[in-house]
């Protein structure tokens, strides 16, 4: 698979030249392959949100470069808008960004800015509504009469309608009830499977991350701590805990058993896998 996104020595400093100067992202480099599902985790203030906002050109890095399909995104600053269409970004609590009279018009906002034809926009609105699991009857409603969870789906649909090659989701499940969270996660997974595009998923819920990602990028005070498969990352239970991160419960149990001398693997992510491992050692 080819590399779709490459980040080289990316650094971002807030309030440069004042006593309040703070380095939010410190010399980060990594590469994401086409079609990968990458999760970015880290506790509050670790620089996750700043990092992802640099990937679609909303913030200009203090130093370092971002390459999208081998092209430097800031090579032509006037054309940065084109990058924003290709690297779609769903912000934290995106429901506040709705503004149009109807849901359909709001979802079409991004696609319209791209200068697509009416019929193409229509198609995209319909397919993206389907992706986020809303019924067609919603399209004619005002976005302001929807519930919180529905608003969030509309906001996500608005970004999906731009058909981005990379979709960045900044804590999309924050503040949703467990049912809504499950539903949204499975929809994101389905979307990923169908569209085969690249997804960057920012979260601090380890349980969510463990199940759906190909690779996990762990951030701690502006640095990358790990960038590896979930199994390998979660095998580092103690270290993650020191960074203020909680690993999934089942992984925690298995890591402890392994530390106590039982022959089970570290970094077990699902209950099924744990049962399997436990049965093998019980049979012995």
């Amino acid at each position: 698979m080819s590399d779709i996104l490459q980040v080289k020595n990316l650094t971002y400093k807030y309030a440069t030249g004042t006593p309040f100067e703070k380095t939010a992202v410190d010399n980060i480099s990594f590469t994401v392959r086409q079609g990968e599902f990458v999760s970015i985790i880290g506790h509050t203030g670790s620089g996750k949100s700043t990092l992802v906002q640099m990937l679609n050109g909303l913030i200009k890095p203090t130093s370092g470069k971002v390459f999208f399909n081998q092209n430097d995104i800031w090579k032509e600053p006037k054309k940065i808008r084109n990058i924003r269409f290709k690297v779609g970004m769903v912000f934290q609590y995106p429901e506040y960004q709705l503004f149009e009279e109807t849901v359909a018009k709001d979802i079409a906002f991004g696609a319209k800015n791209m200068g697509l034809t009416e019929s193409e926009i229509q198609n995209r609105v319909e397919s993206s509504v389907e992706f986020v699991g809303l019924e067609k009857s919603f399209l004619k409603k005002s976005p302001f009469e929807l519930s919180g969870g529905e608003k969030r789906r509309v906001a996500i649909a608005g970004v999906i309608a731009m058909n981005p090659e990379i979709l960045i989701l900044d804590e999309p499940t924050a503040g949703l009830d467990p049912m809504g969270r499950e539903l949204l996660l499975s929809q994101i997974r389905q979307y990923h499977e169908k569209q085969k595009n690249t997804i960057l998923f920012v979260s601090h819920s380890m349980e969510d991350v463990a199940r759906i990602s190909d690779r996990v990028l762990v951030m701690n005070s502006g640095h990358t701590e790990y960038f590896d498969t979930p199994e390998n990352v979660f095998a580092q239970g103690e270290h993650l805990k020191n960074m203020g991160l909680k690993i999934p419960q089942i992984t925690q149990i298995m890591n402890t058993l392994s530390d106590k001398g039982y022959h089970v693997g570290k970094g077990v992510l699902t209950i099924e896998k744990a049962v399997e491992e436990l049965l093998t050692i019980l049979k012995k």
Partner: protein, 272 residues
């Protein structure tokens, strides 16, 4: 970035001026401003300018910040100076068609400009050294006599406090919404004024919606804590005038006497 806009800026330092009771401070500053207009010759104006600079130094706030406060009025300052230079009376020193520059014009221009600059500096001293809450508390107290005329002084003060409190919140939110719409390809930088205004709609609507929601939430939260307006409401921090305030008043009286003395002593320095 939009966050660079500062409003009602307060710079906490441990200076003596910060410690003056806000009520006393507001009244004294108002009196200073009145006397700035009573000063009618360069002698008394110069004296007021010196006093203002001394006060600015006492606040321990970098002088650079005071000059920043001048930026918004720079245009008015230039405009009035130019007008004054050309509209003076008396013998012209330089003439071109109907435009003439007179000695009197130049003097008036300098006098008026210095007056405006000092005016801004004095007001800056007040806003830089008093926290917004202190300011509204003091205003509430000063305006209390107006309740005789059925003016809801407490309500006005409360509205001011709330408005000031939410300025940074609103700025932050505007920034957030702008970013979200930019991520959907909204173009806010290019185009003419009409296009730019139109581009603001996707920012303004969500901002209004969330402001109304926030207002409702705040109202509910206040009612939950039994807020019912100003009547019978006591304060946690009661403003109390102390020794420093007496000193401030005495200092001011001396300064004001000085202005009057200068007015009388240097009639030859009056703008001719």
């Amino acid at each position: 970035m939009i966050k660079d806009i500062t409003l009602g800026q307060f710079f906490p330092t441990n200076s003596l001026i910060h410690k003056i009771d806000p009520r006393v401070k507001i009244i004294l500053i108002s009196v200073y401003i009145v006397f700035l207009f009573i000063a009618k010759n360069f002698g008394s104006l110069g004296f007021m300018t010196c006093i203002t600079v001394i006060l600015m130094i006492i606040t321990k706030i970098p002088l650079k910040l005071y000059f920043k406060g001048l930026r918004p009025v720079l245009f008015i300052l230039l405009f009035t100076s130019v007008l004054n230079v050309f509209y003076g009376s008396g013998e012209p020193i330089w003439q071109w068609g109907i435009l003439k520059v007179t000695w009197n014009g130049i003097q008036t221009a300098v006098f008026v400009s210095v007056r405006i600059v000092v005016l801004i500096m004095i007001s800056c001293i007040l806003t830089y050294t008093t926290s917004p809450t202190d300011l509204t508390d003091a205003l509430e107290r000063i305006m209390k006599p107006l309740t005789v005329f059925k003016i809801q002084v407490h309500e006005i003060a409360m509205m001011m406090t709330i408005a000031l409190r939410f300025v940074p919140t609103l700025l932050e939110e505007t920034d957030k919404i702008m970013n979200a719409q930019k991520a959907r390809g909204a173009d806010m930088e290019s185009g003419g004024i009409v296009k730019k205004l139109k581009a603001m709609i996707p920012v303004l609507i969500p901002l209004f919606v969330s402001s109304f929601n926030r207002a409702f939430d705040l109202a509910v939260a206040m009612e939950c804590r039994c807020y019912r307006g100003g009547k019978g409401r006591t304060r946690m921090k009661v403003l109390k005038a102390g020794k420093i305030d007496v000193i401030a008043v005495i200092f001011s009286v001396i300064v004001l006497a000085g202005v009057i003395v200068c007015n009388v002593m240097f009639p030859q320095l009056t703008v001719k």
